[in-house]
Amino acid sequence: MIEARELTKRYGDKTVVDRLSFTVKPGEVTGFLGPNGAGKSTTMRMVLGLDAPTAGEVHVNGRSYAGHAAPLHEIGALLEAKSVHPGRSAVGHLTALAQTHGIGRRRVDEVIDLAGLGSVAHKRVGAFSLGMGQRLGIAAALLGDPEVVMLDEPVNGLDPEGVLWIRNLLAQLAGEGRAVLLSSHLMSETAQVADHLIIIGRGRLLADTSVADLVEASLGGVRVGTDEAARLGPLLAGPGVSVTSSGDGELQVAGLSAREIAAVALRHGVLVHELTPTGVSLEEAFMELTRDELEYQSAPASGRTER
């Protein structure tokens, strides 16, 4: 379990993480989403005590990271930037990490097999592809068989088989009751594996929601075209349903499916000439949430002529 309370990081007068509070619960995959530069990696470094928060605190399994006598057994992490000396072999790297916790050679071999690195275990890490580097990082994260697993952009550089492997691994980890935090800037990829989402932009919390809720919220409504808008509106109204008139002969209905609206209209003999679901995709919902919070926004592609 990871608990962040009012976590804040400032560099000079630039606030990178701004009073961020969230909880990563056991038995779930929590997606940590935000555009590039939103403060995801900084937050993760603060979880591991690599960066000190300017204000606020973050606890792992009830304690600050440095307060644990054997931290690799509490939380295992893959950080975005490569955190391995390229001159060392995978075995050498993992053995050195394992020895700090008295973890035996057998566990090192286990995580090498688990990550599918058996054939390159004795090669210098500098010769690894991006994907193999990610696998090594994940092997290191699992070394201490930790209760919490935190992965920063784990699918970066992985081939489709690797992506599938990560997805299954995350589901399995959560299924075993571990808390899993997974950062990404891609909603589509995260929504497939996550149960819960924490969305941030410019260091601030934008949404803390279950994937199911976000899907529902993003479904939007149905645009109904009819000449008898004034009559159909009250017929559709009910608990949990909102009907707004969005123009002449047009209604915007939320809370009913197109099929349900059609059934009501047929029952009352109202002619309907348009039924268009106006939902947005998860990706669009994410873009909508973070649009005002982008650190690096691209200008419209159409060139404006300078005078």
């Binding site: 591991l48 440095a66 931290p71 690799l72 955190s83 050498g92 790297h93 916790h101 566990r107």
Partner: protein, 276 residues
Amino acid sequence: MTAIAAETRRTAVKRVTFPRVLLSESTKFRTLRSSWITLGLSLVLLAGFGAIAAYTYSPGGAGVTDGPPGIAGRPLDAVSLSLMGLSFASLVAGVLGVLMSAGEYSTGMIRSTLAAVPKRLPVLWAKALIAFGAVFAVTAAGAFLAFLIGTVGLDGEAIALTLGDDGVVRSLFGAGLYLGLVAVFGVGLGTLLRSPAGGIASLVGVLLLLPGLSQLLPDSWEDTLTPYLPSNAGGAAYALTQAEGALTPGEGLAVFAGWVAVTLIGAAFRLKRADC
């Protein structure tokens, strides 16, 4: 799918302790090629230069009357001849230390290291101990080797000495101790500056350039301060005979160790306080 859990899950959680950190750091040291290259190079430089100096020695001959900067101006003896490669070896030993610490920052390894040892300081102490132990062992051996090879070359010369002569063993051990401390100095500089290039540049500056710059000081200052400069103090530690105005071997070693300690304390503060 393979099981993720360790077969021995939760039954054997062990704390992070200093001996474990020391073992981990020794594995890191052993598993990098640069460790073996720098150690080997310092051995070759010491033994090789020492042997060549002894074999090419001729009384009153030109070329070898000035030793390396650290022992310049002292009367030439068999020990200073056999330690002719020492200032080169000191750079290599220092580079070894810098690479041990700054190399972790330049590669990003430091994040893995400090995630495993969040108390941080044990990592610095372990690196310092390993750098000292490895370099002392190899360079003390190199100094003895250089002297013994040189003994053959100097056979019959007036300046020839044997291991049994006064101060010879102390000087050769002193050379190993000095070089071991130089490696620790490198570890400290690398941790302080977090960059291999910066660490190596400051190492060269302090060990080789500082003594030359001290000549710019007013004479009275120069005479007082010069013996206490890092490489001059270190030079006193392995000189066979105490030069005029120089420190005794014990004082020289203590003063140099003081410089190293100050650097390490600075490194410890930066390591403990700063984000990485």
